[in-house]
């Protein structure tokens, strides 16, 4: 039984990570940016698994479990933010959502929004 070198696994993880990074940089839809972040997290987890398998230790899988719960928490908050933004702006274009200095219409900044029901 031929053994696949562990470098191949790392190469696959690196390619997936770079694809996710390209998605983050190229896409402008916030939903796609979040999807690409998930791809990057998944690639990092795969790298952990490869490293854990390389030394036959359980640490890689433990790290992946931590990463999994981190991704779950991140995606819950991120998707809630996306829904909130969409309900106010009707737009998920990250270029249109400039809320930094100089922007006049910051959602929730005028005190009228986000109040108690």
């Amino acid at each position: 039984m031929a053994s696949v070198p562990f470098e191949y696994g790392l190469v696959v993880a690196a390619v997936l990570f770079v694809l996710g990074l390209a998605g983050v940089l190229a896409r402008r839809n916030l939903l796609f940016i979040l999807l690409s972040v998930e791809i990057m997290l998944n690639a990092a987890g795969l790298a952990f698994i490869v490293a854990g398998a390389r030394w036959g230790q359980a640490d890689g899988q433990v790290m992946f479990i931590f990463l999994l719960s981190m991704a779950a928490a991140e995606v819950a908050v991120g998707l809630a933010l996306i829904l909130l933004l969409y309900s106010r702006r009707k737009d998920l274009d990250s270029d249109a959502l400039t809320m930094g200095a100089g922007s006049t219409d910051i959602p929730g900044a005028n005190g009228a929004e986000g109040g108690q029901p």
């Binding site: 031929a2 796609f32 999807l35 036959g56 433990v62 996306i82």
Partner: protein, 164 residues
């Protein structure tokens, strides 16, 4: 087994490439599920069966369902899943199915020539030297829960006011 590994890697990379190039969010989500399944196969081949199952259950199951709900709430209503959208993910999934049938038909072949780390060792490591990490993760999940609840309550306020 080398061939299975190469096919899984191809499916994962091809599906991920399709994810970041789709215009329709539902199509991208379909491809992402296929990509996650392919990565789970790679993990299985690397002797991490427990984590491969977690990848399918939590990533391809729970987290993708969250994305489906959000796309359902905000996505375009027209032509969400046309029959043609299933062709690409279907072909890639068929490759994974062929791998599965090949492995099952080939008898109980072990994964790659690696030492398989059983779930028992993972659990012992998780609740032994990494116990502080588990506790910190509990804090993180609580923070995520509180944050999602807070944002969701504001969202309900916004939607409720608009609906009046």
């Amino acid at each position: 087994m080398n061939l299975i590994y190469a096919a899984s890697a191809f499916v994962a990379i091809a599906a991920t490439l399709m994810v970041i190039t789709r215009r329709n969010a539902v199509h991208a989500l379909l491809y992402l599920v296929v990509s996650l399944l392919a990565v789970a196969v790679i993990m299985l081949l690397l002797g991490a069966a427990f984590v491969a199952a977690l990848e399918v259950i939590i990533y391809a199951g729970a987290i993708m369902v969250l994305f489906v709900f959000v796309i359902m709430l905000i996505g375009p209503r027209n032509d969400i899943v046309s029959p043609r959208a299933w062709i690409g993910p279907g072909i890639l999934c068929f490759i994974l199915l062929a791998e599965l049938v090949y492995v099952i038909a080939g008898g109980s072949t072990p994964p790659l020539a690696v030492k398989e780390v059983p779930p028992r060792e993972v659990g012992i490591a998780l609740l032994g030297p990494y116990l502080i990490g588990v506790e910190v993760t509990a804090f993180l999940l609580l923070a995520g829960l509180v944050g999602a609840f807070h944002l969701g309550r504001r969202l309900a306020t916004t939607l409720g006011r608009k609906g009046d």
